[in-house]
C-alpha cells in the first residue's frame, strides 16, 4: 500500500539521519525509578542551570561585542564565567552526566548544547 504523497530526494540516508537527530533531542519518556530518580532529577536541574549559564554567557558576549566593558569588568566577568563552567563540570562528574545529556531543544532558538 503506497500513499499518494511523494518524497523526492537524492540524499535519502542523510535526511533520515538528520530527521532522527532532530526528533531525539529529548527522550520520549523520563526513565524514573528508585535507582535512577536522583540522577534524573540532577539531570533536570543541571539542564536548567546550564540554560541559565549559557544565557549569561551570551549576554556577556554581546556586551563584549558592543565594547561597553572596561578591562576590569572583562577580567571579573571572565573569572565568574570560568568558575561557573568549572562548577558545572564538577557537578556533571558527580552525577555521571555528559554534555549531550543536558541538551534542551529550545524551539526556534535551537538546541541548548
Amino acid at each position: 500500500m503506497i500513499a499518494n504523497g511523494i518524497v523526492e530526494t537524492d540524499s535519502a540516508e542523510e535526511f533520515i539521519e538528520e530527521i532522527e537527530k532532530s526528533q531525539d533531542v529529548l527522550p520520549k519518556k523520563i526513565n524514573a525509578n528508585p535507582q535512577t530518580v536522583e540522577k534524573g532529577l540532577a539531570k533536570l536541574v543541571l539542564t536548567l542551570i546550564e540554560l541559565i549559564r549559557k544565557l549569561l554567557e551570551k549576554q556577556a558576549m554581546r556586551r563584549v561585542e558592543a565594547g561597553s566593558l572596561s578591562d576590569e569588568q572583562i577580567e571579573n566577568m571572565g573569572e565568574t564565567l570560568m568558575k561557573l563552567e568549572s562548577k558545572m563540570e564538577e557537578l556533571k562528574q558527580i552525577f555521571g552526566l555528559k554534555d549531550e545529556e543536558l541538551n534542551l531543544n529550545l524551539g526556534p532558538l535551537g538546541d541548548l548544547m
Partner: protein
C-alpha cells in the same frame, strides 16, 4: 464501540467510494450539521506504531483529500463511542468550520534542506581570521583568555546563524510566491538548514514545484528533500481552549504527523 478517527471533512454526506481503513474495516462518515467525522470501528487498541498501520491511516486520509477538504487527525486517535464523538464535534464545530474554510482547495508540501555545515563554518573561521577585528586583546590572564576564546566562538556561531538566515530568506522568497501559508524551522540540527512546510492552493501546485526545481538547481552544495502533496497536517489551528478535550488531547488530536510523513516517505523513496 470505539471509533478510529481519520479526519474531519467538509461534508455531511456518506462517502460514495469504498475505503478501507485500519484492520481492513470500511470507513464511514458520521455527520454533524454540515460537516462530518470519518471513522472506522476498531475492536482493540493499536499495538504500537507500525509502518503498515501508519500507511493505512495515511492512505485513507489521502483518499478523502481527493474529494473533500479534510482536517487530518493524528495517527492513533480513538474516540470512545458515537456520543463522545458528536460532543466533540459540537464543542469544536466553529473551529472545524473555520479551518475547513481556510484550508479549502489547499495542499501541504514539505521542503527540507541540508547544507554543508562544516564547510560553512570553516569558511566563516577563515573569513574572520582574515579580516580580524581586535575587539579583545588577551594580556595573558586566564580569565581574559577564557573570554577571548568564548568571544571567538560566539562570533563564529553568530555568523553561522546569519548565513543560515540569508540562505533561507532567498529560498523562501521563491516558495512564498506560490504559498498561502508557511512554517519554517531553521537549523533543527546543525546540518538541517531548513525544515519547512508550505500550504499551497491546488492550482498553484505546478508553479510551486517549478520554484523548487529552480532553487534546487541553483546551488549544488545544498541537498533537498521535497515531499507532498500532503493533507494540511501542519496548518490546522484550533482556537477553542475548553470543551470535551483537555488541552493536551486537543494538541494531540491535530499534532503534526511528522513521523507519519517520514514513514510514508521512507516507503516511497
Amino acid at each position: 464501540m470505539k471509533l478510529y478517527l481519520y479526519g474531519i471533512i467538509d461534508s455531511s454526506d456518506q462517502i460514495k467510494e469504498s475505503i478501507y481503513g485500519l484492520e481492513g474495516v470500511g470507513v464511514y462518515n458520521i455527520s454533524f450539521r454540515d460537516i462530518g467525522a470519518v471513522v472506522s470501528e476498531i475492536s482493540q487498541p493499536i499495538q504500537g506504531v507500525t509502518e503498515g498501520a501508519v500507511l493505512e491511516h495515511e492512505t485513507v486520509v489521502e483518499k478523502l483529500m481527493a474529494n473533500f477538504t479534510i482536517l487530518p487527525v493524528r495517527f492513533q486517535t480513538i474516540i470512545d463511542g458515537r456520543d463522545n464523538l458528536l460532543s466533540m464535534m459540537q464543542s469544536y464545530y466553529k473551529d472545524f468550520k473555520d479551518n475547513l474554510a481556510r484550508l479549502y482547495n489547499k495542499l501541504e508540501f514539505g521542503i527540507k534542506v541540508i547544507w554543508p555545515a562544516d564547510k560553512v563554518k570553516e569558511n566563516i573561521i577563515k573569513a574572520l581570521n582574515e579580516g580580524e577585528q581586535r575587539v579583545l586583546e588577551s594580556d595573558g590572564s586566564a580569565s581574559k583568555r577564557f573570554i577571548k576564546e568564548k568571544f571567538e566562538k560566539y562570533k563564529i556561531d553568530k555568523e553561522f546563524e546569519t548565513k543560515a538566515d540569508k540562505f533561507i530568506k532567498v529560498m523562501d522568497i521563491f516558495f512564498s510566491k506560490f504559498a498561502a501559508e508557511k512554517k519554517l524551522e531553521k537549523l533543527k540540527t546543525r546540518d538541517l538548514l531548513l525544515d519547512a512546510v508550505y500550504l499551497v492552493e491546488k492550482d498553484k501546485e505546478n508553479d510551486f514545484r517549478e520554484a523548487f526545481e529552480h532553487i534546487k538547481s541553483a546551488d549544488p552544495n545544498l541537498k533537498y528533500l521535497f515531499s507532498g502533496p500532503w493533507p494540511p497536517y501542519n496548518f490546522v489551528v484550533l482556537l477553542r481552549k475548553t470543551g470535551l478535550l483537555r488541552d493536551t488531547e486537543q494538541a494531540d488530536l491535530f499534532d503534526k504527523v511528522t513521523r507519519c510523513q517520514t514513514l510514508v516517505g521512507a516507503d516511497s523513496i
